[in-house]
């Protein structure tokens, strides 16, 4: 019998260290002043998941309002302004407080140095500063909601955003602060990848997770500052009416959209690349097979990041952009689909003839493949001028971006959370229940958003709180779907939190992963490795080995 990959360190193979990063020092102060990337990752996890909950509540309120065309909520009439606030706050919280910071701040922070065989990131104190900037931004954003709320849509288009009442200035200031949190995180990761790899680990020996996160960090550095200046200009226009974005005082509203989308389009790749990073780990591990086309995957990640910068005008096809610019942006948008396609095909090929096991993380990964295919392809419909003219600002767009942001990124996030949960906490969750959450997630997600493609193509506009009667069945179906999503997430929280009541006896490497984080204890010791690991294998080397010592 050919021996299969040895799973290192079952219980009893290596003595479990008594002190690990969780219990070595105790007390709130030791956490608040930590510079340990693992602790910072846990704090980010708690913070961003709380934001996810808040954004999710607003989502449920949106969907409840849309249950009937009468825009009522629990018997009370919802005004247009209130509805605008619901979807604005849902969008702004989800984009700026959750999706952009979550995977980089939590899972990547935890796992990246371990994967590189490093003790920590390049600038540990900057890492903590990033987290506190997130906290400050979150407090400012929530304050703006309590004091007055914003009703402009998360995109803050002018001139409405420069003239409406509401706490726009405070919210944009919050996003400015959050932007710097993101920038510093990206800066840290780039420096870490350049300088702190283990001996023997060249660029093409790194896990693909690192390549995707590096690409994400490139975007964070290059794009986020432009968001910063956009928000400053927005605030100044609001307060001093400087005349840059409002045509009544000589400005150009389309200029705002250029400024805004120059960041916000690359930003959606800040959202998806970390999800892809996770999938590149899950698929080889649960197929027991080397990733197909390692270099292509690495190059695809970087090209996604770079090409994402030249397509932003596809958000502005009907905004008043010139015809020439529109055509150029449409053509370039098709280009950006290519690296995405390469990745999907390579993941599938990796699975082909692999030794697949369907644990919870893998179920989420397979969901990702299906949902991302739909999300990505519908992006092409939107990038095509002749169809976009009909589909823009309809529910088709809403469905598209939820398929990529939620169906892909959040799916991958949850999968990654299950995957690295034993590493982070030292506990295994209840596997059967985890698999149940994955199935419910897939059903709930599709139930919510698949009807929205149909709604959009039949003309249901986005951000409207009432609609023609003929749309109600699909809207109602979608709303029920949102409850199923809620159920799945609630169950995931229960499954993971329940595992914490068990003793910390997870194996070092429960999944048989080949990357370096699985070579240390679960949970890891504070400085990650007992001895500096030296890389000896190719990445994702699942070739059969002789059983060693």
């Amino acid at each position: 019998m050919e021996p299969v990959v040895t799973r290192s360190a079952r219980i009893g193979d290596r003595p479990r260290p008594k002190k690990n990063y969780l219990n070595e020092t105790r007390g709130v102060w030791s956490w608040m002043t930590t510079v340990d990337h693992k602790r910072i990752g846990i704090m980010y996890l708690v913070g961003t998941l709380s934001a996810f909950l808040l954004g999710g509540i607003f989502a449920l309120l949106v969907r409840l309002t849309l249950l009937t065309p009468a825009h009522k909520l629990f018997g009370m009439q919802v005004t247009a302004e209130t509805y605008n606030r619901f979807f604005t706050l849902h969008g702004a919280i989800m984009v700026f407080l959750f999706i952009i910071p979550s995977i980089p701040g939590s899972l990547t922070n935890f796992v990246l140095p371990l994967m590189l065989g490093a003790k920590d990131v390049a600038f540990p104190r900057l890492n903590l500063a990033s987290f506190y900037l997130w906290v400050v931004g979150a407090v400012m954003a929530i304050s703006s909601m309590i004091i007055g709320a914003v009703d402009t849509g998360w995109t803050f288009y002018t001139p409405y955003s420069t003239t409406t009442s509401g706490t726009v200035t405070l919210m944009t200031a919050a996003v400015f602060v959050l932007g710097f949190s993101s920038i510093f995180t990206g800066l840290n990761f780039i420096a870490t990848v350049h300088k702190l790899r283990a001996p023997g680990m060249g660029w093409f020996d790194m896990p693909l997770f690192v390549w995707s996160m590096y690409s994400t960090a490139l975007i964070q550095i290059l794009a986020t500052p432009v968001l910063g200046i956009t928000l400053v200009l927005l605030m100044l226009e609001r307060v001093f009416q400087i005349g840059i974005f409002d045509s009544r005082i000589g400005g150009d509203p389309v200029l705002f959209q250029h400024f805004f989308w120059f960041y916000s389009h690359p930003a959606v790749y800040i959202m998806i690349l970390p999800g892809m990073a996770i999938i590149s780990e899950l698929i080889p591990t649960f197929s027991r097979k080397t990733i197909f086309g390692y270099r292509a995957m690495a190059y695809a990640s970087v090209s996604l990041a770079l090409v994402s910068f030249i397509v932003w005008g596809h958000h502005m096809f009907v905004a008043g952009q010139s015809q020439l610019a529109t055509v150029i942006f449409s053509a370039l948008t098709f280009l950006v689909a290519i690296p995405s396609g390469v990745k999907v095909f390579n993941w599938l090929t990796t699975m082909y003839q692999g030794n697949i096991s369907l644990e919870t993380p893998m179920l989420y990964a397979i969901s990702f493949l299906m949902l991302f295919a739909i999300g990505g392809l519908t992006g092409i419909f939107l990038g095509t001028l002749s169809t976009d003219v009909h589909l823009t600002d309809t529910y088709f767009v809403v469905a598209h971006f939820h398929y990529v942001m939620m169906g892909s990124t959040v799916t991958a996030f949850i999968g990654g959370l299950y995957y690295w949960w034993p590493k982070m906490t030292g506990r295994m969750y209840a596997e059967r229940w985890g698999q149940v959450t994955a199935v419910i997630w897939f059903i709930g997600f599709n139930a919510t958003f698949l009807p929205q493609f149909i709604l959009g193509s039949r003309g249901m506009p986005r951000r409207y709180y009432n609609y023609l009667d003929q749309f109600q069945p699909l809207h109602a179906f979608s709303t029920v779907g949102s409850w199923i999503i809620g159920l799945s997430l609630f169950m995931t929280a229960a499954v993971l939190l329940a595992s914490l009541r068990k003793p910390a006896d997870a194996p070092d490497n429960p999944w048989g992963g080949t990357t370096l984080e699985w070579q240390t204890s679960s949970p890891p010791i504070t400085h990650n490795f007992e001895e500096q690991p030296v890389l000896e294998n190719e990445p994702y080397d699942y070739r059969p080995k002789a059983v060693t010592h």
Binding site: K119, H194, L196, L222, V226, D252, V254, L255, H258, F262, F309, I310, W312, G313, G320, Q321, S322, Q323, L324, A325, V327, I328, F329, Q532
Partner: protein, 145 residues
């Protein structure tokens, strides 16, 4: 990190640069400053801005290469700096393409149809209609009501 007892002790400061080069660089920069001020007193038409920015870029390059040590540093630092300018250039370029190829549309229905911008030719989508003369004063907007 693994502690190294390297004998390369000057941080990364192998003594590149030095007062002579820095002073020479300063004089070059001052010269270019005088040049650009002098050039501004001539009118080269639309080349004015180009010349001014070209000289400014030369000055910026001198500051980056010599004062900021890029000439003597590892290439990755220069690559990072160039990337910053490159992406800024992309932002500028596409925005300019948009703004300079816009057409001022006059509505095709309503009272002043003789001033209407012709519909785009669907067989030649990239050919923008001939631009109209500059908009008359906003007083026209009130007439539409």
């Amino acid at each position: 990190m693994s502690s190294h007892t390297e004998t390369n002790t000057h941080g990364a400061g192998q003594h590149h640069g030095g007062p002579k080069i820095y002073t020479a660089n300063l004089f070059a920069l001052l010269f270019l400053t005088v040049l650009t001020i002098a050039a501004a007193s001539f009118n080269f038409g639309s080349a004015n801005v180009v010349i001014a920015l070209a000289i400014a870029s030369m000055k910026a390059a001198l500051v980056a290469l010599f004062f900021m040590h890029l000439v003597w540093d590892k290439p990755v630092n220069a690559i990072i700096a160039i990337a910053g300018f490159l992406f800024l250039g992309i932002f500028l370029m596409f925005d300019f393409i948009d703004v300079t190829s816009r057409v001022n549309f006059q509505p095709r229905n309503g009272p002043n149809m003789e001033n209407a911008t012709p519909a785009p030719d669907s067989m030649n989508p990239l050919k923008t209609p001939a631009p109209r003369p500059l908009d008359p004063a906003p007083a026209k907007a009130e007439e539409h009501k």
